[in-house]
Every structure is written in C-alpha cells, then in structure tokens.
Amino acid sequence: MNTELVINGTNIKKTFKNFELNIPELKIPKGFATALVGENGAGKTTLINILTGVKLDYKGSIRYFDKYTDADRETKPELKNAIGYTGTSQYFFPQWTAANIEEINTILFDSFSSEKFRAMCDELAIFPEGGFKGKVKVSEMSDGMKTKIALAGVWARDTQLLILDEPASPLDPLMRDKLNRMISEYIESGNGERSVFTSTHNIADMEAVTDYVIIMERGAIVEEGFVEDLKEKYVLVKGENTDADKAAPAMYTFNKSQHGWDGICLAENVDKLAGLDIVTETPSLSQICVAVMKQNSRLK
C-alpha cells in the first residue's frame, strides 16, 4: 500500500557502551495507529526519546509530517504543538500538584484547554471522588494515576500525532480498553490526518487498534508492515508428531510437545509441508511478534 508518512527517519544511530541503535530507515504511516514492539532493552524507548527530542545526541535525520526536520523542533512552535508525547519516566516533579500540571501545560502548548483537561481527568476517574482536584500532589499519585493524568494532558490539546511510550503498562485492564477506544476515536476524528505511535511489550493489549507494527530487537528493526500483510506473510501451522522431523526444516519457529507440534511458517514455505497431516490458521499479531522476536532474541 502506498501511504504518506508522518515520520520518516534516515540512518538513525546512537551508540551506548554495550548497545547500538541503528535504523537505516524508519517509516511511520500517516492516518494509522503504529505499534513499536520489542523485548526489554530492544531500544524502543531510546528510539522514542530520539523522535521526541528528549535525546539529542544521535546521528541521522528525521522528517515530520513530510515538511519539518528534527532541527525545526526547536525553532518552529507549530511542530511542537502538533505532537503529543507521554513517557515512562517521571517527568512531573513529585512536589507538583495537579494544578501545577495544568499550569505548565498551559504555558507550553498553545492549544491546551484547561476545560478539556479537567473533563478528561473526570472521564478517566483520576481522582477517587471524581472531578478535578487541583491540590493532589504527584507524590500522592499511583503509577496508573500518573500515566492517566499525562494522557489527559495530551488529550486536552489539538494534536496531529501522538507518541506514547508504554502507555498501557501501568494501567489496569479496564483503562487499557478505554485507552484503545481513545486511540480509535482520535484516529477517526482526524479523518486520515491524525496518527498514533505507541511502544509496547505486550502487543495483545493493543492488537485491536494496531494497523502497522514495527518489531525491534537489539537496536535494529527486524520486521515491519501493515498487520493484514503480516498475517498473510506468516502462517500458524499445527501437526502430528509423526511428521515432526519432515516439517521442522521448513518452519520459521517450531515447538514440539508430546501430543504434536505447532509453529509459525512463512507463507512461501507452506508448500514444502504438502502431503503432511497439518492444519493452518491465520496467526494473531502477538503470535507473529513472538515468533519474530524469538528468532532475533538472545533469550534461550
């Protein structure tokens, strides 16, 4: 599919003592929800920090909305205003109150609406008694509440791109479902102009709203594509143990138990299993991600 890109990165590199991030090309499609998947330490947060400008000592270039460069982040306020970001680390000081968070957002972002922010705080049930409680301190908030108030801050603005680093991790299942609905509604109201980029290590949480997926391992992109295309590229195969030895060489991943085997096979190799007693299924996005991660991980 030919789609416009909301972010297009070239030769992004960042070297740490024991780790290197190296991405020759990064493509995030416009008008869709993209998930960045990878195990702990794969480089997801490093990449997001580079894209959002939290980290500035990297090599390479990044284009936003097909018209801004990474240097424009400092000089063109409309770019900063168009992007909403929530991170995993604490970027609110513990002594700040909810009212301080509202104040700082008002100063930083042109389109921030206090009214929308307070309504979002109520909608997300951030304060146990409902509504908006300006005096509550960040130090009194749970991890889930901190993530929710950061999301409320981003949703209270008029943006074109959301970059959310592990938004689902500290949230309970009910709030994860709510977050999915919020992302769907955000994309829908943009009518093709609004995009979302989230990182997660639990893709099952976001499977229903993910259009494009980028899988990272050890600082590199190992697989990417539209979910529907990946579901045609990989096939889930199950079979009997009598065929296990014949099937194994053609499989991408292979798990054998006492009562049969299963695994992921590349669609182009399914022909090699002809004549064996097997069933094939369309894999879920999580099954694809796990298979690709397994192939590229050091995890035994």
């Binding site: 008008g31 929800a33 769907s184 994309i187 829908e188 093709g192 259009d211 539209f226 299924e281």
Partner: protein
Amino acid sequence: MKLSQSSGVPIYQQVSDWFRDEILAGRYKQGEYLPSIRGLAKDLKISVITTIKAYETLEQEGLVTAVQGKGYYVNAQDSEMLKEQHMRKVETALQEAIKASKIAEISKEELLETLETLYDMDEE
C-alpha cells in the same frame, strides 16, 4: 455485525462477507456509501487497516467503487452480476464436494448420482 476472534475466518473477511450479503440482499442501495473506514473501525473495535482490506475485497469483486477522499459507494447490482456472485458460491461448494469425494475414492458417476438424488429430493 457479529465478529468472532476465534472462528478461524480472518476478521477482514467476516466484515466483507457481511457487507456482501447486505448489498446482494439490496439492503445497501445503489449509490449509497458504506460507513467511513475509520468510523467503522472505531465502532467494531477493529484496526483501520482491517477495514480497508475488507472494503478493498468488495471493490475487487466489483460490488463497490472507491472515490478518493469520499469513501466507497455501492455499484448497480444487475441481475447478471447477482447470478455471477451466486455461481461463485455454487462453484466453491461443488469444489468442496469433489475434494471430499476424491479423498473417499468416490467415483465421478457416484458423485453425480448423489447430486441428482439430492436435487430431486429438494424439489419434492
């Protein structure tokens, strides 16, 4: 529309099957627009790309036409076309029957006989 995550039928196919039935049954009229891609994705809690694939499937079958920036509208469903769609269903079902009979080593004559018997039984 009732979508099943565990039926083995891909979600996009369940969506396109549903619209195909609606269109062929005349519940979506000629010239009428299908729901917006992102609106339907939100309502069905499925991804945008799945909805696009479902609509593209219908477009390939000639049931709908895409208009850049406006969405997908329903084409005129002439009787020839309807017959064609039903013929495809018949062919698929018959292919299944042929496959099954080959596995069971049932001869062509026996298969045709069975078809005739079943057809006549249905008529009675």
